[in-house]
Amino acid sequence: MKYYTPSSLSELNDLFLQTNNSKITILSGGTDILPRWEEGITLPKHLIDLKKINSISGIVEHDNKIIIGALTTVQDIYKSELIKTKYTALHQAASQFAGVQIRHRATIGGNICNASPAGDLLPGLYVHNAMIELTGPNGTRKLPINKCITGVGKTTLNNNEIVSAVILEKTEELSVFYKLGLRQSMAISVVNFAIAYRQTSPNLFDLQSIAAGAVAPTVVYLKEFTKAVNEGLPLEKAISLIEHDISPIDDIRASADYRKTVLKNLLTHKLKELYV
């Protein structure tokens, strides 16, 4: 395995051209990659460590946008006052993400590229309509997050592209995140979800979107349910509509039935809290 540490995006692009067509793995925090190697997955031929590319780290405000560099750690997202006040779901997800040790190392870019259906930062990014900036030798392009992640561990990134930033529009929308794990910390989500909403009057909310994780191959929007609730259908009747958008599976953490039931119950509970 050859190890590279480019210190700028142009150095990275040169590397991509040099190592053309051979097996490359991109390293960010490494908190998902290293455990996989320990499980016996063979080491890649080329390992490109992004951590010295300072230009893609940190959170900046830009006109009507917030740009989160791909190398920004989960702990930095958790500690950001801007994220806490404007993108609460993302803050709450970061606060429940693994434990402090992992949060200090894991990055938002890595959480996206790992493309786990249970990735904790993802539902918050979905409901805030995050745009993902991809960079490579052929330039930069931007994709909505749900077009970037296409399946379990699958993304639309080309071999010579990296996620360089996450772009969030400034918004008046409020959001919340909820996670059910088998313990309070260091737990992979059994289900998780984020809700974005607008407060139209003191006791009235307009749901913008709901995204749920660990109930389908990717995080999914619960469109039918959201629409029905906004049209005034009582929660108890509307809740079964989530089944249009989810396809949970049985795994080591929970059964498909449990995931479906618990998502219905938790969503109803959380929405009732909002509507009180």
């Binding site: 290293l34 434990g99 402090v100 040790q101 992992i102 200090h104």
Partner: protein, 153 residues
């Protein structure tokens, strides 16, 4: 060739690309860094990297070039233990001791960022360490006691 500081001393060396900091520290007989799993799940492998607590088994040696690494060995000088270690002893926060170095490093990482933490903050700082004998109440008391005693000074 990579170079870094380990407990205040500069170290230079060549390492295989797959070698983790955990592998290296155990080879150096720094046995306070414990095996829990190779996946960072237990937190028993904690070290401080530039003052922040992290899992040594999730750090490749190549990625610590230019960094400052601390283990619990740097906290005590001979038989004189650090006041935070003293607080753990006084509060009875140590039973088997397996995760204790990691708990103290996690607490130190927190206290460098926030010298006057509240109870919730301390609980959160221990979130990445599994303890299966002492539990968390006594360690939290020890950390609060130490933090308060420093404030009083």
């Amino acid at each position: 060739m990579i170079g870094f500081y380990l407990n205040g001393k500069p170290v230079f060396g060549e390492f295989n690309p797959g070698t983790t900091l955990f592998d290296y520290l155990r080879d150096q007989e720094i046995f306070s860094v414990k095996f829990g799993s190779e996946k960072g799940e237990t937190g028993a492998d904690s070290v401080l990297l530039d003052g922040k607590v992290m899992n040594s088994s999730l750090l490749l040696m190549h990625t610590i070039d230019g960094k400052v690494i601390e283990t619990i060995e740097s906290f005590s000088q001979g038989v004189d233990v650090h006041p935070l270690q003293e607080a753990f002893i006084e509060e009875g926060a140590v039973q088997c001791g397996y995760c204790t170095p990691s708990m103290i490093l996690a607490a130190e990482s927190l206290l460098r960022e926030n010298p006057t933490p509240n109870d919730d903050y301390v609980r959160e700082s221990l979130s990445g360490v599994y303890c299966r004998c002492t539990g968390f109440v006594k360690p939290i008391q020890a950390i609060m006691k130490y933090a308060t005693s420093r404030e009083d000074r």
